[in-house]
């Protein structure tokens, strides 16, 4: 018993340590001092400042737009890629697998640099204009997340009974219908987790954004600022701006709610009772 208690003490101690920076930030989001460590009494001023900070709101908006669009594109490419590769011949499939693995193992900074080098070259020689824009940024983010969508869908394909597709054809589906009525519903859990992963990867990204961004989106003529690039620029000069502490608090609770929601949903869907419409 003592041993067990000791074990769990270790686990919770490490857990607590990992949360210290976040908790400190959250605590000091309810006071209006410049530096953490100074407590100036309870206040919600930082939250008001946050919503009044145009710069932060634009960055937040950009981040969400990019995350959403890139996740949709990545999911489309990753899912079609995984299905296509899975039903290809052995050798072609091995080639596809390796190609897909390339951006996974390749350090982000190498991907980013290689894209930049190519875009600069093409911009200088062929298009004769600066190519960096929302589109180059989107390409960067899709490269980051599509391979992971692929990897999330693949195990679902492996688990799927191969005769399901044939059964659908046998019962009168055209190949397209069999895909949408049987294959996609079967792969849905993998597609969804891939989509969520794509969103998180995009939200978190700094390097690729910093390399491939150009002007556009909510930033207008300026280079697109996302949360990552904005925060990076700020913390290079000094402490985290006070209003971003408030943002951290909001993000933390949103994430918490989402995580709790997912956990409850997963538990519920296991013992869900189905009803049926009747005439």
């Amino acid at each position: 018993m003592v041993k067990k208690a000791f074990k769990y003490t270790f686990v919770y101690l490490v857990l607590l340590i990992t949360y210290i920076p976040i908790f400190v930030l959250i605590a000091f989001s309810f006071t209006n001092t410049t530096y953490i460590g100074d407590w100036n009494g309870f206040s919600l001023e930082l939250f008001i400042n946050l919503f009044n900070s145009k710069e932060t709101m634009i960055a937040l908006g950009n981040t969400l737009i990019i995350a959403f669009i890139s996740a949709i594109v990545s999911t489309f490419l990753g899912v079609t890629g995984a299905i296509g590769a899975f039903y290809s011949k052995k050798r072609t499939r091995a080639l596809y697998e390796n190609l897909n693995q390339l951006p996974v193992v390749n350090p982000e900074i190498v991907i980013a640099l290689s894209l930049v080098v190519m875009f600069v070259f093409l911009g200088n020689t062929i298009f004769k204009e600066n190519l960096f824009s929302f589109w180059t940024l989107l390409v960067g983010h899709v490269i980051l997340s599509a391979p992971f969508v692929y990897l999330n869908v693949k195990p679902k394909l492996q688990q799927m009974d191969p005769s399901l597709y044939e059964a659908a054809l046998d019962l009168g589906c055209s190949p397209k219908k069999a895909l949408s009525k049987v294959m996609i519903p079967q792969l849905l859990p993998g597609i969804l987790s891939g989509f969520i992963l794509a969103i998180t990867l995009s939200l978190d990204d700094f390097i690729i954004t910093a390399f491939t961004r150009g002007p556009g989106l909510l930033s207008g003529e300026n280079a697109i600022e996302t949360l990552s690039t904005l925060v990076q620029a700020k913390i290079k000069k000094g402490p985290i701006p006070p209003e971003l502490r408030a943002l951290t608090t909001i993000i933390f609770f949103v994430v918490l709610i989402v995580v709790i929601g997912i956990t409850i949903y997963q538990n519920k869907s296991k013992n869900r009772v189905k009803r049926r419409r009747s005439f």
Binding site: V11, T18, V24, P107, I207, I235
Partner: protein
């Protein structure tokens, strides 16, 4: 035959995308790494890299940082994953989720927070760059270690462990002869999750050491911001080479795992 063909064709857009934006760009940096600014073939970048003690130092320092960080993360993460996976309590899954949850908060923000808190308690990066950087790296990569280790340990063959103790192993031997060998694929993929990203990390050393520690990622970033395409490309090629070597070294341990095909991150 017509219908099987249609499913195969689905992957065409994705693989055109991969060729255009992954393979061709790599060829571009290969080209830049071995040419000079005028576009002629040149080994200038290579010679410059290997004759500059500064750059070699950065390479060695990055490798050391990666190795040490990987070891620290594994030393802490392995027992945690083992404890959480060994008992059946449903709550343990929630604890794993709690370890992973910080990953959903913007990582630049988290890094900034770490630095501010360290500064508050007197461990500021300007005076203690190494400690601060290691703490930052550890914070960021611990979840990447726990996740693969936990999922490997959930799949441990209980019968094999029981067989080991039945055949006369004591608890320590059970661990070294049965449990640890079974978890090696998880350890390898956890190490892969930490090693290369540490080497190429930019934000963490930059922020936490206040610019005092330069890892490989930082020097590529520097090359990029100073428009030194050739030397930056050459360094990228070195990173790629290290990736390839580490993949080759760990290949035998991970293959089984990949066929299982459940790598999530």
């Amino acid at each position: 035959m017509k219908f099987s063909l249609q499913r195969k064709q689905l992957c065409i857009p994705y693989f055109i995308f991969l060729i255009l934006f992954v393979v061709i760009p790599i060829l571009f940096i290969l080209f830049y790494a071995f040419t000079d600014s005028a576009g002629n073939f040149s080994l200038y970048s290579l010679i410059a890299f290997f004759t500059s003690t500064n750059k070699i130092n950065v390479l060695i320092q990055s490798l050391l940082f990666s190795v040490i960080n990987t070891i620290i993360c594994l030393l802490v993460g392995y027992p945690i994953a083992y404890i959480l996976a060994s008992s059946k309590a449903k709550f343990n899954y929630v604890v794993v989720m709690l370890f992973v949850m910080p990953m959903w908060i913007n990582f630049v923000l988290r890094t900034g927070a770490t630095r501010d808190v360290l500064t508050w308690i007197g461990l500021n990066g300007g005076q203690h760059p190494y400690i601060a950087t290691f703490i930052g790296l550890f914070y960021n990569y611990l979840p990447f270690v726990i996740l693969p280790l936990y999922s490997t340990m959930l799949k441990l063959d209980k019968a094999q462990i029981e067989a080991a103790s039945d055949l006369g192993c004591n608890r320590f031997q059970v661990f070294t002869k049965s449990i640890f060998p079974q978890t090696i694929p998880g350890v390898v993929s956890a190490a892969q999750m930490v090693f290369m990203p540490t080497m190429s990390s930019y934000v963490i050393p930059e922020t936490l050491s206040e610019g005092k520690i330069i890892l490989f990622g930082n020097s590529i970033y520097l090359g990029f911001s100073n428009n030194q395409w050739n030397s930056a490309s050459f360094m990228a090629i070195i990173m790629l080479a290290i990736v390839c070597i580490s993949m080759l070294v760990t290949r035998n341990y991970t293959e089984k795992d990949q066929e299982g095909g459940s790598s999530r991150w």
